[in-house]
Symmetry: C2
C-alpha cells in the first residue's frame, strides 16, 4: 500500500498519527507530493483523487481511497486487533462521528479556510476572500473556547479515552499556528490536554 | 427516542430518509423546532446540542447525539438487521466515508453557505458575505458536473447499490433549488439518477 501525502500538511498528519497509534506506519510506503508546486493538480494525481487533495491511500490492486476520515475508517475496519480509535459500540461510534464532524466543520475547515483566504498561499488556483478568511478565524477561536470548557472535566475529548477526536483536534490546534491563532493563556484545560496529546510518540511522526 | 428537527431543513431530511430506508421511522418521536424563530438558540436546545443545529437525536436516558452522519451511524450500528447503508466491508465502508466527505465538503456545505450568504435568511445571527456565497454557488455547480460524469456508467453513487451517499447527494440536489441551482438540461445522467432516487418511497418522507 502507498499513501500519497505532503509531510507538512495537516490532513496527512492526522492520518500518520492515526496509523502510528495503531502500529501500522510500516505497513505503507509514503510518497511525497509537492502541493505548493501543484503536483496534486496533474492528470495522474486526479486519476487517484478527482478532488486533487492529499492524502490518498492506494491499495496494492490500484484501488484508491481519499479523505482522512475514509482512510482512517479503512484501517480501523481492516485491522480490528489494533487499538480502536473510532469507538467500540454504537453509542461510542456515534459520539465519535459527532465529534469528528464538529472538529471538521467548526475547527479544522475554518482553520484551513482562514489560511487559504488570508495568506494567499493558493492564490494561483483560487480566489481569496479576506473577509471570509477573517470570519473563519473567529470561528476557530470560538471552538477553542468551547473545547477549553469541554475539557474542564475531561482528560480526553470523547469516550473517556484517547481517540481519533483527540488526534483531529490536536492537529488542528497545531495547524492554527499558521494563522497566528494559539491557545490563550487562560485556556488552561485546553493547554493541559494539548500537552498530554503532544507527549504521545504518535505526535512526533 | 426523540429527534428534534425542522421538517423543511435538509439535514433532518437526510436523517428521515435514512431511517425510512431502514424501516425505523416509527421508532422515534419527531419534535419540530422552528429554526427561523431561533428555537434552536435557547439554552434548553444548546444543552442538547452546543452547536445549536438540528437534527438532534435524544435517547430515552437523555443522551444526545448531534450531526446527521453521527445519527445515521447510530442507527446503522444499533440495528444491524436493517438494510446496510454505510457499507458492508472495510473497503465499502471507506468508500462510503469518502463519498460522504466529498458530498458534505464540496456539495452540501457550499449549498448551505451559498444560501446563508446570498439570501440573508439568518442575517440576525451571522454576517453574510455575498462574494463568498457566490463562490460557493460555483462549487455546487462544479460538483453537479462531476456527479453527472461519475454517473455516466453507474446507477448509484457508490458500491453499485443504493446507499447513504445517494441520500445525501439527492437531498443536496433538491436543496440547491433554494439558491436557484438546478440540474442542467445536458446533465442527463444526473437527472436519470435523481429521478431514480426520487421514485423511492423514502424520498417522500
Amino acid at each position: 500500500m502507498k499513501i500519497f501525502e505532503s509531510k507538512t500538511a495537516p490532513n496527512p498528519r492526522r492520518v500518520r498519527m492515526f496509523m502510528a497509534e495503531k502500529g501500522l506506519l510500516n505497513s505503507v510506503e509514503f510518497v511525497e507530493v509537492d502541493i505548493q508546486k501543484g503536483e496534486n493538480l496533474t492528470p495522474e494525481f486526479a486519476a487517484r483523487n478527482p478532488m486533487k487533495k492529499v492524502p490518498v491511500l492506494e491499495l496494492d490492486d490500484g484501488t484508491c481511497i481519499s479523505e482522512t476520515r475514509a482512510i482512517c475508517r479503512f484501517f480501523e475496519e481492516s485491522y480490528p486487533d489494533t487499538p480502536r480509535l473510532l469507538g467500540d459500540n454504537p453509542l461510542e461510534k456515534a459520539h465519535l462521528e459527532q465529534w469528528l464532524c464538529w472538529i471538521d466543520m467548526f475547527f479544522f475547515m475554518p482553520t484551513g479556510m482562514c489560511f487559504q483566504h488570508t495568506s494567499g498561499y493558493f492564490k494561483d488556483r483560487m480566489t481569496p476572500i479576506q473577509e471570509w478568511g477573517e470570519e473563519c478565524g473567529k470561528s476557530v477561536e470560538k471552538f477553542m473556547h468551547f473545547l477549553n470548557k469541554h475539557l474542564e472535566t475531561r482528560e480526553y475529548i470523547c469516550c473517556d479515552r484517547f481517540t481519533a477526536a483527540d488526534i483531529n483536534a490536536f492537529v488542528t490546534v497545531a495547524f492554527a499556528r499558521v494563522v497566528n491563532i494559539r491557545i490563550k493563556p487562560g485556556h488552561t484545560n485546553l493547554q493541559a490536554w494539548y500537552d498530554r496529546i503532544k507527549s504521545r510518540p504518535s505526535a512526533q511522526v
